[in-house]
């Protein structure tokens, strides 16, 4: 009996200590887990435990849907950035002074949570402020970071988190040096130098050929003047269905266009220019009068018809435009 009592007595302080440390333990538990692998993989139960009311730590939780069948492009794009952010934060804050837990809740493991939050889209980033302790903010619900402008970089999210967690340390994002890329670049440079030295005698005539440079210049000019940069910047669709099963080649408005449309226009410009060059340079060099006569008629006709077509296309774009030439009115 004595022995038993003694045992019990000796256990008491331990039990008391355990009882006293229970809420602290929650953070330490997550923190130790976090140190070995971050961000924490959550499911409904752990999520509930992590976000349950008396908490003296903050947590950032990414709600995502990584599986292929959900087709969440954004989730997959953001995941490596998220991993990088949490890793560099945890690494930079070994003493856990910021008291921040990183967690990822995939839809597969957290259907109930998604439902209870009423989430229709993924990914969503939630930040829970502590309810007790020096930075306590018990009233505020979780702040939410939306991915409106596509996938964000780790630095952008870092800035957001840093804003929320004022006067706590914010370990910066450290991007690992990308060795593969460096090696690839070096190899490519060396390879191209080698290639150039070997092929130089063959390349030189091409580089010094006026026709090549003329072709490059003209193609560049045609591309730029037919609105290629607009396509590039605005990311316009190549073609658009006209709603009747066909394809609509020309966009309606004056300041909108489709990818194919610009190519048609560039081709028209190119043909017109080519015909003009032929009339100006090639035709006077044709020695045979008959051939020359035919060439003049052909090239002149092409210019006329193409220009007329160009004007008619332009009339599609600008309804009030009053001018036209015969074949296409």
């Amino acid at each position: 009996m004595h022995f038993l009592r003694g045992l019990l007595l000796s256990l008491l302080p331990v039990a008391a200590l355990a009882a006293k440390n229970a809420p602290v333990d929650k953070f330490t538990k997550f923190q130790t887990k976090q140190l070995s692998s971050t961000p924490l993989k959550l499911d409904d139960a752990i999520y509930a435990q992590l976000t349950s009311a008396p908490r003296d730590y903050s947590s950032v939780i990414l709600l995502t849907a990584m599986e292929d069948r959900f087709g969440c492009q954004l989730c997959r794009e953001f995941q490596p950035e998220w991993d990088l952010l949490s890793k560099s934060w945890i690494k930079g804050d070994k003493m856990a002074e910021s008291r921040l837990i990183f967690g990822t809740l995939d839809f597969i493991n957290g259907k109930a949570t998604f439902q209870s939050l009423g989430l229709q889209t993924a990914p969503v980033l939630l930040l829970f402020q502590p309810t007790t302790g020096p930075h306590a903010n018990p009233e505020a619900g979780p702040s939410r970071f939306d991915f409106n402008n596509g996938a964000q970089s780790a630095e952008q999210v870092h800035r957001w988190i840093a804003r929320q967690l004022a006067d706590r340390p914010h370990p910066p994002v450290v991007r690992p040096i990308n060795w593969t890329r460096g090696i690839a670049i070096t190899t490519t440079i060396l390879a191209s130098i080698t290639f150039l030295t070997v092929a130089w005698p063959y390349l030189l005539p091409i580089l010094q050929n006026r026709n090549v440079w003329a072709a490059i210049s003209l193609i560049a000019i045609l591309l730029f003047t037919s609105g290629h940069m607009f396509n590039h910047i605005r990311k316009v669709p190549y073609v658009v269905s006209d709603g009747k099963g066909g394809v609509s080649y020309f966009a309606g408005g004056f300041s909108s266009q489709y990818g194919l449309e610009t190519q048609i226009v560039a081709a028209m410009y190119g043909l017109l220019s080519f015909a003009t060059i032929s009339l100006a340079l090639k035709v006077p060099r044709i020695a045979d009068p008959k051939t020359q006569q035919i060439a003049v008629i052909v090239w002149g006709g092409i210019i006329f018809v193409m220009y007329s077509f160009l004007l008619s296309v332009f009339r599609i774009k600008n309804g009030g435009y009053p001018f036209w030439l015969p074949p296409f009115s």
């Binding site: 003209l218 730029f224 940069m229 004056f254 020359q292 160009l310």
Partner: protein, 742 residues
């Protein structure tokens, strides 16, 4: 018979004189046409420049230099003298004083209005000179001048009354290029110095001078790569660079940028490169040893690499400023949208869709590549310039609508080159004889071989000429028809699109008559007559210059967007709820708020359509308080009708735009004609502002900011009291008292 009469005038010295007079009169006519085509309607537009010019004329140059303007950017003010390009104002001031000295009484306003058309005449002349350097054909220059005179791409920025930097800058651009070509051709330090002088003038006139700063070094670099280094090149470039850089540094706004910022580094780098090559060439001419030249080549390469490395190092360490956002966004086209919304929000900075090219240049746009191709025929130093210019300018104009202006001159020149070549070929009276069979083959073969070495594909057979009159007639008449069509096009574009200044809107009534919508001037007039002279007006920055110039009232922000935070403050006030906005407006001592609303008329350039930019710019500074997401519905739509989000409905901009709007319509028919949506019958409620003025077509709405309440209530309570609502407390009263029966 006519031949014999005309003949003496076409031969010998007399002939040259006749042609000279003809050319001169044609040029004068072109200049006259250029000026006349810009006079469709005259309204002075950029009011800030006009205000600055008035200040310059009234207070003299040195006061202008030190001018601190406290009537804009309230309460910060603006160091105007140090933050503008003074070229435009100084030019008109000089003209004013010159005319005064000649005892011609003239108002500075008239000079400002007619400056742009006048300079367009000069531009036509500069284009003539420039093109004559490119071509031996005498007609090319005249054609180019004519094109330049009437091309809509240039008219768009130089109609009478458009008193903007571009008005004189395009003349300076073309003329500087002309002087550069001249200097390069002659290798003359004098022409180089002249070029530098006009370059300095250009720097003082327009921020687009960076185009020259980069184009000339690029030209030189390409020439060096082609193995065309020559003492001519060395002398002309070094003269231009050293003098031009010194000249550009005299402008306070530019200051030390030419040696510190990246967009000027290419000029410096090419300058260094030329010194090295010049040194090597000099040594080589003295030491003919082959090994020594190889050594020198290695030396050049090493120095170049080290210099480049040093440049990168200096940039990284921050001694040399990295690319400024505006220029950086030209290369990385996605940059502006993310980092500098204020640049991306300006409609002039949008990329160019193809109809805009065709609209501004019409047939020149397809003659342009042909003209560039023609430059490859001879490919002397000056033709290389045309090619480099053409490619660079077409890239830039594709990225930004406003840079169409730099493309227009070279398009006119290239098109004139090919057109004059066509006309010269098809307008000769003499026709070649039909070739004798077989005889020509031998000579042809020899000629072919000679040309084949280094020529264009289309130039390989010898020139014969055009045989039949029919060919000549058909081609020439078709070209004439196209040119006439071009003139019609230019006239139509100018009269329709580019002659309606932004302050006056023209619309057509159903019966075809023109209806002038003059709300802007009506509103500015109201402000001028009904408010205190120091009443601060808050509006979006687009209208800052107009308010400052036409209403003569201090503004918070204006079109000189030098302080992004201040603009974001206005954006925040506009996009937050009244409770947040009111303290902001009080802190900035705002008396009136001006919004532009097009819902009644269907005027799409109104503030609700620009609203998202205000939100974005404000979000850039206060990401926690203003969120773009909140202005979109759950389904991601930007709505203003009953389905608009709460944030949208509570924003000051929304309330000011739609305040009392529903009273214009019978119940249930309230409609916004820009967004094409039906508005709810209950309009928004304004507590902290009073409607002060609404223009005839509701385009301009002005609100007065209420003073603090006399008895210390907040505005919501006061307004609620005014409306006759009872106090909140009373509504919370318990139900009627009942007798307790027990």
């Amino acid at each position: 018979m006519t031949d014999s009469i005309v003949e003496p005038f076409l031969k010998g010295n007399t002939g040259r004189n006749t042609r000279g007079i003809l050319r001169l009169s044609i040029l004068c006519l072109i200049a006259a046409a250029a000026i006349a085509s810009r006079l469709f309607s005259v309204i002075l537009d950029p009011w800030f420049n006009f205000r600055a010019t008035k200040y310059l004329v009234a207070n003299g140059f040195y006061d202008f230099w030190d001018w601190f303007d406290d009537r804009t950017w309230h309460p910060l003010g603006r160091v105007t003298g140090g933050t503008l390009y003074p070229g435009l104002m100084v030019t008109s001031g000089a003209i004013y004083h010159a005319l005064r000295a000649l005892t011609i009484p003239v108002d500075i306003r008239n000079i400002c209005v007619l400056l742009a058309p006048g300079f367009s005449g000069l531009t036509a002349f500069a284009t003539y000179l420039f093109t004559n350097e490119m071509s031996t054909s005498p007609s090319a220059g005249l054609l180019a001048a004519a094109f330049m005179g009437i091309a809509p791409g240039y008219i768009s920025r130089s109609v009478a009354g458009s008193y903007d930097n571009e008005a004189i800058a395009i003349f300076l651009l073309v003329f500087t290029f002309y002087l550069w070509i001249k200097a390069l051709k002659l290798g003359s330090a004098m022409w180089g110095a002249l070029c530098a002088l006009f370059y300095g003038y250009m720097v003082s006139a327009w921020g687009g001078y960076v185009f020259i700063t980069n184009l000339i070094p690029l030209h030189v670099f390409v020439l060096v790569c082609m193995g065309r280094f020559s003492p001519r090149l060395y002398v002309s470039y070094c003269t231009w660079y050293s003098l031009g850089t010194l000249a550009s540094m005299q402008i306070p706004f530019v200051g030390f940028l030419p040696i510190r910022s990246s967009e000027h580094m290419s000029a410096l780098g090419v300058f260094g490169l030329l010194q090295l090559i010049g040194f090597v060439e000099f040594v080589r001419s003295g030491v003919p040893s082959k090994q020594f030249t190889t050594l020198l080549r290695g030396f050049v390469l090493a120095v170049f690499t080290i210099a480049f490395g040093g440049l990168v190092l200096l940039t990284v360490s921050g001694v040399i400023a990295p690319w400024t956002g505006r220029f950086y966004s030209l290369w990385d086209t996605g940059y502006a949208k993310i980092h500098i919304p204020i640049i991306a929000s300006v409609s002039e900075h949008q990329p160019t869709a193809w109809p805009a090219f065709f609209f501004d240049l019409n047939l020149l746009i397809w003659l342009f590549p042909a003209g560039v191709y023609l430059c490859f025929l001879k490919l002397a130093d000056e033709q290389v310039f045309v090619v480099v210019y053409a490619i660079l300018a077409s890239y830039f104009s594709g990225v930004m609508v406003r840079l169409m202006l730099t493309l227009t001159p070279i398009v006119c020149v290239a098109a004139a080159l090919v057109l004059s070549h066509l006309l010269d070929t098809y307008l000769t009276m003499t026709s070649p004889d039909a070739p004798a069979e077989g005889a020509s083959d031998a000579t042809n073969g020899a000629a072919k071989k000679a040309i084949k070495q280094d020529g264009l594909r289309s130039m390989r057979s010898p020139l014969v000429g055009i045989y039949t009159t029919f060919s000549k007639g058909s081609v020439v008449s078709a070209l004439t028809a196209y040119l006439l069509l071009f003139v019609l096009h230019c006239t139509w574009v100018t009269s329709n699109a580019y002659s309606s200044p932004s302050v006056v809107l023209a619309s057509r009534m159903p019966d075809g008559s023109q209806h002038i919508i003059d709300d802007y001037r009506e509103a500015y007039q109201w402000l001028r007559q009904n408010t205190k002279t120091d009443a601060k007006i808050m509006s979006w920055w687009d209208y800052g210059y107009q308010i400052g110039g036409m209403a003569d009232r201090p503004t918070l922000v204006d079109n000189n967007t030098w302080n992004n935070t201040h603009i974001a403050t206005v954006g925040k006030a506009m996009s937050s709820s009244e409770e947040v906005s009111y303290p902001i407006m009080r802190q900035h001592e705002v008396d009136y708020v001006l919004v532009v609303f097009g819902g009644l008329l269907g005027y799409s350039g109104d503030d609700i359509n620009k609203f998202l930019w205000m939100v974005r710019i404000a979000e850039g500074i206060w990401p926690d308080e203003v969120k773009e997401r909140d202005f979109f519905t759950e389904r991601g739509e930007y709505r203003v009708d009953g389905g608009a989000t709460e944030t949208m409905k509570n924003s000051l901009m929304y309330k000011m735009s739609y305040y009392n709007y529903h009273t214009m319509f019978p119940a249930g028919q309230c409609q916004d004609r820009v967004r094409g949506v039906k508005m709810p019958d209950q309009g928004p409620v304004l507590n902290t502002l009073d409607e002060a003025f609404t223009s005839e077509n509701w385009i301009i709405r002005i609100y007065k900011v209420k003073d603090l309440d006399n008895v210390g209530r907040n505005h919501t309570a006061a307004a609620s009291f005014e409306r006759g609502n009872k106090k909140k407390k009373t509504t919370k009263r318990r139900g009627p008292k009942v007798l307790r029966v027990e």
